[in-house]
């Protein structure tokens, strides 16, 4: 996989993950172009399209589009299910996930994706293993976090 994008129906980018070094300028251009192409498509159309020299696999979940760019020889259907498995992982973790969860907890969305896909290839397909890794990290985090008063936080912001 070359990259993965999550964006909203309004064309707001919510998550981007690049698996091949790409210049910022090109990234922006590609994101803009691809969002335009995908958002223009109608609901019943097929989930695959050719775009530049890549194949794009996308699926819409509620207000969010999940969009993967893969290479010529990669398998489209399994990529579609990779997206679904990622959504399942997010759902399991957040408890019926919605766009706001991903906005507020963007770093979690990244960590879960990292545990699931690495270097553009799937790392572990078992829901249990991925979630276990995330939960362990959360445990470490709780041990870490020193309690602070919410008011103090608010004052700082």
């Amino acid at each position: 996989m070359r990259f993965m994008l999550l964006f909203s129906r309004q064309g707001k980018l919510r998550l981007q993950k690049w698996y091949l070094a790409t210049a910022d300028k090109d990234k922006k251009k590609m994101v803009r172009e691809l969002m335009q192409v995908v958002l223009a498509r109608k609901p019943k159309m097929c989930s695959f399209l050719e775009w530049r020299d890549l194949k794009v696999v996308y699926k819409r979940y509620a207000s969010l589009y999940f969009c993967c760019a893969i290479e010529g020889q990669d398998n489209e259907l399994i990529t579609l299910e990779l997206i679904h498995r990622y959504v399942e992982l997010l759902d399991k973790y957040f408890g019926s996930v919605c766009e706001l969860d991903i906005i507020f907890n963007f770093e979690k969305a990244y960590f879960i994706l990292d545990e699931f896909v690495m270097g553009g290839e799937i790392q572990d397909t078992s829901k249990k293993s991925v979630l276990k890794a995330i939960e362990q990290a959360d445990l470490l985090q709780e041990e870490d976090e020193s309690p602070r008063s919410v008011l103090e936080e608010m004052g700082l912001a």
Partner: protein, 940 residues
Amino acid sequence: MTEGCPKHCILMCVLLISGKSKEAEIKRINKELANIRSKFKGDKALDGYSKKKYVCKLLFIFLLGHDIDFGHMEAVNLLSSNRYTEKQIGYLFISVLVNSNSELIRLINNAIKNDLASRNPTFMGLALHCIANVGSREMAEAFAGEIPKILVAGDTMDSVKQSAALCLLRLYRTSPDLVPMGDWTSRVVHLLNDQHLGVVTAATSLITTLAQKNPEEFKTSVSLAVSRLSRIVTSASTDLQDYTYYFVPAPWLSVKLLRLLQCYPPPEDPAVRGRLTECLETILNKAQEPPKSKKVQHSNAKNAVLFEAISLIIHHDSEPNLLVRACNQLGQFLQHRETNLRYLALESMCTLASSEFSHEAVKTHIETVINALKTERDVSVRQRAVDLLYAMCDRSNAQQIVAEMLNYLETADYSIREEIVLKVAILAEKYAVDYTWYVDTILNLIRIAGDYVSEEVWYRVIQIVINRDDVQGYAAKTVFEALQAPACHENLVKVGGYILGEFGNLIAGDPRSSPLIQFNLLHSKFHLCSVPTRALLLSTYIKFVNLFPEIKTTIQDVLRSDSQLKNADVELQQRAVEYLRLSTIASTDILATVLEEMPPFPERESSILAKLKKKKGPGTVTDLEEIKKERSSDMNGSAEPASVNASAVSTPSPSADLLGLGAAPLTNSAPPPSSSGSLLVDVFSDSASAVAPLAPGSDDNFARFVCKNNGVLFENQLLQIGLKSEFRQNLGRMFIFYGNKTSTQFLNFTPTVICSDDLHFLNHFLCLNLQTKPVDPTVDGGAQVQQVVNIECVSDFMEAPILNIQFRYGGTFQNLSVKLPITLNKFFQPTEMSSQDFFQRWKQLSNPKQEVQNIFKAKHPMDAEITKAKIIGFGSALLEEVDPNPANFVGAGIIHTKTTQIGCLLRLEPNLQAQMYRLTLRTSKEAVSQRLCELLSEQF
């Protein structure tokens, strides 16, 4: 569940997403950025928590799509924290925001090094993820050696192994030269047997990527992958527990294993091959079973495996039974209610169409595909249908397919029109038996989609009309009629202008298309056209002056008008002035010579095909098409001399030609043999005796054989030439294998080995004595024949012999030449010697004529092990610990020829910094030093 962001961050988020306008958002963000900047710059040192907080905010702002140009240093500081969350945010920031800024990379690498050494699996995981995310060359330099060790160490945790495998894969993708192959590779292959399916999945991805470039090293993975696959496909849907996805056992791993197997030819071991065939059959069978779940995930996962299996079947292209089953399965999908499946079926069938086994089976679906073109609602599916029609097209259905595509073109989406135009143009040319059909098709193309007809297309139609005199009259008549339309596309004016300028005389006899009418028709379009077209028309006019002297004054009047002679465009003005002058002062003879009919174009690859390849990538223009193209290229070509009869008829006499252009319609062209009677293909085989020029790319291949003796020397769509050779002293034997890659017989197959003239001494003694036996002149489809060449090196030589192959394939004559890699260094015998001996001899060969030196830039990555292997492959001994500088390589050996033996010493000094080499050869014979130096310099 824990809150990832600190509270205030969420507050900010809420503010931002509820922000009323873009300006408000930008204002809010700029304020926040200013605040963070001041915190980072402030006198008070920030504690880890605050640092994390602000870095996290920056990340968030970046992810909203704003630029972030600071905070990198703070993020790097977080890496060395012992607090997990701080480290984690630090790594995330770096993964998302750092590009290879060298200063920072060094600091980051240090932090990563510490975490990798920590043996704490969580920290190791973060570090590996970071390497994989950044994946820069600097990172590869720092860690490519270390990660394989982590990967194969016995005590590494499974999760770390998975990360290490994929991390290495990522580094290999960016910097393959920095990942050293070694002992670890065999242990990685055995990860395919690992108990943990997650490890197997990650390892399979890694092995697949590595095996594509290093197939030999990973050959053993084939049998392991087959047995793993077999265990998965035969397992019950619950056996694999969490690795079962909607009742499909381990679909991701299955797809990956099938993909790995596509790096290799079908397994040679019959047991493995049988088992694999069983697996593929099982997968095909399962597709027919009723679904275990109604969920789309179930069918997607199942079909993902099925499509990958079909890809493997197509890749192997060896089991007709499986290919036909695959084709039938795809045929079912063509009518499936899921758009996704229809799309994929069309795509897969494209590749199936290029297999000789399944081409016919694919063709049976033509009606369904044409229907898809008409009824699919999604343009990307229609695009696939166009591709498939193009792929399944052959002589039998070309007329139907071209007609359907032209039909579709009328309503086609703008985004794919140009491509369809190219495809129609190619098919029409490729399968034109009747060239009037070709001319009609292209003119239709211009009429329907003139804006999308690129230059290549209309150039091509002109090339073909000029090269084929049987169609010229028809072409002139047709363009004349097409130009009558009140509004016609400018491209038609161009084609019309050119063709009437050349062949207008062929229709001038008809009063309805008399010279004056032709001229007036063209000139009526003149003022509506762009400058380049007008320039072309002016050339047509001057050609008319020559073809039709009776309208000379009319044309001169036009050229003389102010709008021409004083045109603001320099090119038009110049043409008008020059043409007017030419028509006034030149005698009829001179005019006829200057404006003589265009000579035929040299045959070359169709420029439109090249354009389509460029547009779609070479992979998409499939093999079979190439073969078909080759089959037909001679039809249009004019390269071969035609029968004597044909040229005698059309060429009354050379002098009459120059004068009588207008009168003798079926005319000449300057070199008499070029009027190609190209449908009389049979005459070609007798007249072709010339040796073809060297095949393109053959030089590269030749260079590859300097240091090795076996491999594939040449391959095109029809033929593969493999070599196996062995040399001892001044003798050698070479086995040449000719493989017919098509399913059609090659006839009159005659390979000839030719020593080029340079191989001869002045006194005509042979330097190289080659003996071959003729091979059977018939090579069946799919068969391989072998030819032995016995070689004797009589004396040192420079040029390699040429292998010329001529044969007939499906009615066309094929002629190609490749250099045969018999080079002087093949007669090397290595000589071991001590450092002392070496330098003593080195000094003895100090005559400036005996030494040849070459300083050159490295063409390949400078890897010491590869260099060593190449020097040994070159034939000399590699002398270790001889040169005082251990980075240098020295070698020694003796070249054996029948007449003499020549001692050779060589020294190669790499300069890594400059990426250069200095190569020095010293031998007792100047020519030998020279030749060896040339040969070896090409290798690095």
